[in-house]
């Protein structure tokens, strides 16, 4: 095991750096720029049972130290992901990938997970019960402990792969939801999804995003993410994957010190396509400065 390697639900990964779902597509755009096998793994574009176009544009807005997005889960649907995206991915990425799954009903989640469970390329299933940009599903499962547990319980029945519950910070008590997911059999928790935000176009006096509201990500949300990771990792005994505004090796270390086992990097990939390899390269030096021999000790 190297200095950077960590174990996530029984699978050892070379380092804890995981591009977050929705910021890394299915990997090809980045594979054209660098060898994406340098990553611990990555979480692919949120996949639903049926193909989705998502929301109308504009889907993106600037924010202080961050951005808003309201893409709305555009994806080709699980069947095309399996028949087209995964074979293409196999050529450029030779590690287990994290499959990110969204849905609008328990059946949606179950059908999608059942299909992805059969794919040997998939290492983990990350269940997104926290998308703020779709209506009648998504986040509504993630804001109630019972609904969250129901999704996780149903999904666990149809897969033997580790199941990660991706949680929303837009709740009064994130710990109660994390605990409900743990009790329902989740193998890990990942958090935070985006904070619900909004901007207004001063000229039109109307919302900038076609969807009115969107999800805030980027450095602005980092302190909220650290707090959620700390609270949840002190309350559950399953691993926690920290995300939310991580942009540097120091941010990664702060997340690990807050209790995370691994770290997802989101918005940073969009403004600097080389963000993840840069972080991985900077980690040993940052660790040396702080007297950290191996990440697994944190």
């Amino acid at each position: 095991m190297g200095r950077l390697s960590v174990t996530l639900c029984g699978i050892e990964i070379d380092n804890p750096i995981i591009p977050a779902s929705g910021t890394f597509g299915f990997g090809y755009e980045f594979a054209e720029l660098y060898d994406i096998n340098c990553l611990g793994t990555f979480s692919f574009k949120g996949t639903t049972k049926d193909p989705r176009f998502g929301n109308e544009t504009p889907r993106i807005a600037e924010a202080p130290a961050g951005m808003l997005n309201a893409v709305g889960l555009q994806n080709p649907g699980v069947d095309k992901v399996i028949s087209e995206e995964l074979p293409k991915l196999k050529e450029v990425f030779h590690k287990p990938v994290m499959a990110n799954v969204s849905g609008f009903s328990i059946d949606d989640y179950v059908t999608t997970c059942e299909k992805l469970d059969k794919e040997p390329q998939v290492g983990w299933l990350e269940i997104n019960i926290s998308c703020p940009n779709v209506h009648g599903g998504g986040m509504s499962f993630g804001t109630d402990p019972n609904a969250a547990a129901e999704v996780i319980r149903a999904v666990k029945k149809v897969t033997t792969k580790p199941v990660i519950a991706k949680l929303s910070p837009n709740v009064t008590d994130i710990v109660s939801i994390a605990k409900a997911c743990e009790e329902a059999g989740a193998d890990a928790i990942s958090l935070i999804n985006t904070l619900l935000g909004m901007r207004i176009n001063l000229k039109t006096r109307k919302p900038l995003l076609a969807n009115t509201t969107g999800g805030l990500s980027g450095p602005a949300v980092f302190p909220v993410a650290v707090r959620c990771v700390w609270q949840v990792s002190h309350a559950v005994s399953i691993p926690v994957i920290g995300m939310g505004g991580v942009s540097s090796a120091e941010d990664v270390l702060e997340m690990l010190m807050a209790g995370a086992t691994a770290v997802e990097v989101g918005a940073a990939n969009l403004v600097d396509p080389y963000a993840c390899p840069k972080i991985i390269e900077a980690l040993p030096g940052a660790m040396d400065k702080l007297g950290i021999q191996n990440l697994s000790e944190l």
Partner: protein, 245 residues
């Protein structure tokens, strides 16, 4: 795509709120007309996409309008300042379809990408007609540079008639042309779409997250499926366009 730290060589106002910036850097990719760059601006989180006006040796020239905080910061850059820039983004125009007598139609800050396009088409000895539309005299820039390139005819229109033909670009389209290349605000593109008598290519604008196809922030529906303006676009052919409304 390349990520390059460019040095500002020049940044000058050329019309109302409109700036011409030259950026020097070691570009290894050849850049195509209709492609764009994505510029990182200090204090702003997202990069700002700007279409390419001209390329010479190791210099990329862009023309942009100050429309918000980001472009305002950009307008204050001076010689020697550096800008982290992603270059060579988007598909660009396909020159092979032009026929002998392509017509280039630009509106406002949609004009710049047509300059490099005209240059490349003239290299291939095409007869290039150009129609450029602006709101008013103060907004007009660089019509004479299209003439200097050797374009067969360059027509300027202004909405208020303060210079050139009064009206919209569609009020000034020539009789004969073999193909249309256009770039401008969406209402203009729609009007051109209706008025044009041949096929053609349209360059679209959209708010972008990344600019290189990762975030799905700038997707649009086309007759041939969902496209990312930043990756499969910004140029779409007339035949694949599906208007919103």
């Amino acid at each position: 795509m390349q990520d390059i730290v460019c040095t500002v060589v020049e940044n000058m106002a050329i019309a109302k709120d409109t700036y011409h910036m030259s950026l020097m850097g070691s570009f290894t990719e050849s850049l195509r007309p209709g492609q764009f760059i994505n510029v990182s601006i200090d204090g702003q989180y997202l990069r700002r996409p700007v279409s390419i006006f001209n390329v010479r040796h190791n210099v990329i020239e862009i023309i942009y309008k100050v429309v918000g905080v980001g472009t305002d910061i950009l307008s204050k850059k001076t010689q020697g300042d550096t800008l982290d820039t992603l270059v060579g983004l988007g598909n660009g125009y396909d020159l092979s379809k032009s026929g002998d007598h392509p017509l280039l139609i630009g509106g406002g800050v949609g004009v710049p990408p047509l300059y490099l396009l005209a240059k490349e088409l003239l290299k291939e000895h095409k007869t290039v007609s150009v129609v450029l539309g602006f709101n008013s005299k103060d907004d007009v820039f660089y019509a004479e540079r299209f003439k200097d390139l050797g374009c067969a005819d360059v027509t300027v229109t202004t909405v208020d008639g303060s210079v050139g033909i009064k009206g919209f670009v569609t009020d000034a389209l020539p009789e004969n042309y073999t193909y249309v290349y256009t770039c401008g605000p969406e209402p203009m593109l729609k009007a051109v779409y209706k008025a044009m008598k041949t096929s053609g290519q349209f360059s679209f604008e959209e708010r972008m997250g990344c600019g290189f196809g990762a975030c799905m922030g700038c997707s649009c529906k086309t007759i041939t499926g969902y496209k990312r303006i930043c990756k499969e676009g910004p140029v779409l052919t007339k035949e694949e366009i599906l208007w919103d409304d």
